[in-house]
Amino acid sequence: MLLRFFLFSFLLFTTLSAKEYTFATYPSNTPAKIIQALTPLMEYLSAQSGDTFKLIVTKDYEELTRRIEEKSVDFAWVNTKNFVLLKEKIPSLRYLVTYLEHSKSGKITPYYQSFIVARKDANITSLEGAQGKHFAFTDKESTSGYAYPMMIFEEHHINPYTFFQKVFFLKKHDKVVEALMSHSIEVGAISDGTYYTALEKYGDRLTILATSEPIPLDAIVASANVSLKESQRIAHILENIPLDAPSNKAFEEHLGWASAGFVKKDEHFYETFKRTLKVPLYETLQ
């Protein structure tokens, strides 16, 4: 009888202590695809933690940043640039884990790269040869779609805003590919994952003009809403996602990401990105 009382009390306590968390991410792809890709992860987290994880896809990076600042979200999937900037801005932001991916070499790595690509039929063989062409970034808040490509241009002493005839911002990586295929632009900056997806979709129609240094993959962070202990518990759950988990398969299926789960790195892991912030912004009002 006493045992039954304790079990009931435990269950009651557990139920009462269960929380509802908001998990936000930026629109790296169309919101519908992102929701389909991340829903299994939310289900996994809910199942493992006993809490409820509600997914939110923000309109853009800016909204995601604002919502983290406002603490209207508990956890967030942020890209490298966002993480670095947010961490500087909100020191209380807690780093949880870094996304892991199967690289094209077959290794599981927390890095990816940014490519400057050109349409093959534009007959551009080098970055210098792309002068006077139409170019597209994804978004100024994008790590692989803007920050690292800007570092590449810096290394080549190129101001894209004057070097190219026109610079466009297409927000999403796959849109850069579509614009290239539509002959609207000749050159664009995309992540390596987007490039390989395009390779599969359209064949070998793009030339890689330049490659960035390894970019730390996206991070999952917790806002100050979440306690340290709770953060660590969730980070632990994320680290232990099996390779064959439905969440990894959903990433592959809906986003084309060869997901391999998450790894907990040191916060200093992202400090290499800070160098990109030193790149002078050549952007000028036209």
Binding site: K166, F168, L170, K171, K175, A179, S184
Partner: protein, 490 residues
């Protein structure tokens, strides 16, 4: 005026009056309908004009909304193709086909209708140049190779600094034209140097008029919208109905006149035939017997009951007239006492026989006189004298042939005309007659009555007087030779 003409004239007058009234009514109806039709066309034309203006207004309003959006301005400044695409996508509609954001160099930053087609140069396009120079352009120009109604306007940052152009366009195609005339009976045609569109297959619009639009002349030459009726089918049907009515009435009039003409002819001919019989009788072209025969013929013929009744009445009347005439004729040619032909009748007969003798016939005459008749009268009185005359006449009549003519020549004198009879025959007849009288016993006269008879025959060239004189001479000789005897001419 003849009855025929009267009836025909009156009927035609009435029909003509009905026709004129009908024409007036139809013409009034036609004019009323035409006015309504014109009014409807006018209203529809104004409706189409209004729709066209609304489309232009829609272009301008959309451009104005986008121009006033800070996000759009930011998007143009930062070449944010995606943001501009998302904005423009919201405004594409049936009234707007194309939304383009263009920078000051004439490069397209974003196309609302094609997400991944941008960055091309449109600086040479007339509407872009006009917008850059004059702030706005509202007109027709080629946008991406398609003729469009274009509204292009410069976008300014802080309302001052030009940063680009927004062009809103509506493709001029069949769908646009169809949407403008939807629900109307009108058609619209668009003609330019590049294309000719029309909502109708008809080459020419009826009552065509141009849309009144203040559009800038662009690179498209001679571009114009014309609206008009697809076909004046409605009006044509009305016109046709009117013409058909007129033709129908005219045709009916002709048919009626002809029918009337023939009906009148048929019926009046019967009346006319009867009337003509009466006229002929009156003008002595027919005698009463011929009249009777003609009318009898009419009554036998197939004719209308009315005419038949009239003919029967006329027939009866004619019959009565003939009877009366016969009675009168008989009265005028008969001796009242003896019932024999009188002297006038005898003279006519003699004349007739003389005429017939000219064609080869012959005859004889016998002049008869009762002997000493004055004595009978004086002795027994006139009553007995008349009795003798009556019975003598009867005996003589009974002794002659049907073709012989016997009459009282005067007093106690008689004349017998014997057609186709020779002298010998005449003498036999005369003798037989004398003998009959001589041997007859009168009821009231106790004595014998004798007669003297003088016979003469016809000679060529005879006149009534000549033949009568010879008979009279023979009679004289019979008297002189002792009476109660027959003598003949020498």
């Amino acid at each position: 005026m003849k009855l025929y003409n009267k009836i025909l004239f009156l009927t035609i007058m009435q029909l003509a009056a009905i026709l004129l009234f009908g024409i007036y009514q139809i013409q009034s109806l036609y004019l009323t309908q035409k006015t309504a039709f014109d009014q409807k066309s006018l209203i529809q034309s104004e409706m189409i004009q209004k729709r066209f203006e609304e489309k232009l207004e829609s272009l301008q309003k959309t451009a104005q909304i986008l121009i006033n959006s800070q996000e759009v301005i930011t998007g143009i400044i930062s070449n944010d193709t995606d943001m501009l695409y998302n904005w423009s996508k919201l405004f594409l509609s049936s009234s707007i086909d194309k939304i383009h954001f263009i920078d000051l160099d004439g490069t397209i930053i974003s196309r609302g209708e094609l997400e991944f087609r941008f960055a091309d140069d449109v600086s040479k396009r007339f509407y872009v140049q006009q917008a850059l120079q004059n702030d706005t352009f509202l007109g027709i120009d080629l946008v991406d190779g398609e003729e469009c109604l274009v509204y292009a306007k410069r976008v300014k940052q802080y309302g001052q600094k030009p940063i680009g152009i927004i062009s809103i366009a509506l493709i001029i195609d069949d769908a646009l034209l169809a949407s403008m005339v939807q629900g109307t009976t009108m058609s619209i045609a668009y003609h330019s140097e590049h294309q000719t569109l029309s909502t109708t297959k008809e080459q020419k619009l009826t009552n065509a008029s141009s849309l009144h639009v203040m559009l800038q002349a662009g690179s498209i030459k001679e571009a114009s919208f014309n609206i008009g009726l697809t076909s004046a089918e409605e009006l044509s049907a009305l016109k046709e109905a009117r013409t058909n009515f007129f033709v129908g009435i005219g045709f009916a009039l002709i048919i009626l006149v002809l029918a009337l003409h023939f009906t009148l002819l048929k019926h009046l001919r019967e009346y006319k035939a009867l009337a003509q019989v009466l006229i002929d009788f009156y003008e002595d072209r027919l005698d009463i017997k011929e009249v009777i025969a003609t009318i009898k013929q009419v009554t036998k013929e197939r004719t209308t009951p009315e005419v038949k009744k009239i003919a029967e009445a006329l027939f009866n009347m004619s019959q009565k007239v003939a009877d009366t005439q016969n009675a009168l004729e008989l009265l005028s040619s008969t001796d009242q006492l003896t019932n024999l032909s009188n002297r006038r009748k005898l003279e006519e007969c003699l004349e007739q026989k003389l005429k017939e003798s000219e064609r080869g016939s012959f005859f004889s005459i016998v002049m008869i006189d009762i002997d000493r008749f004055k004595t009978i009268n004086d002795t027994y009185g006139h009553e007995i004298g008349d009795h003798v005359l009556i019975h003598t006449a009867r005996l003589m009549r009974e002794s002659i042939r049907t073709s012989d003519i016997l009459g009282r020549w005067g007093g106690e004198e008689f004349l017998l005309i014997l057609p186709q009879t020779s002298l010998e025959g005449a003498l036999v007849m005369a003798e037989q007659m004398r003998s009959t009288i001589h041997h007859f016993t009168f009821e009231h006269y106790p004595q014998r009555v004798t007669m003297s008879l003088g016979v003469s025959i016809h000679h060529v060239g005879d006149t009534p007087n000549s033949i009568l004189r010879r008979a009279d001479n023979a009679l004289y000789r019979a008297k002189n030779s002792g009476r109660n005897r027959v003598e003949h001419e020498d």
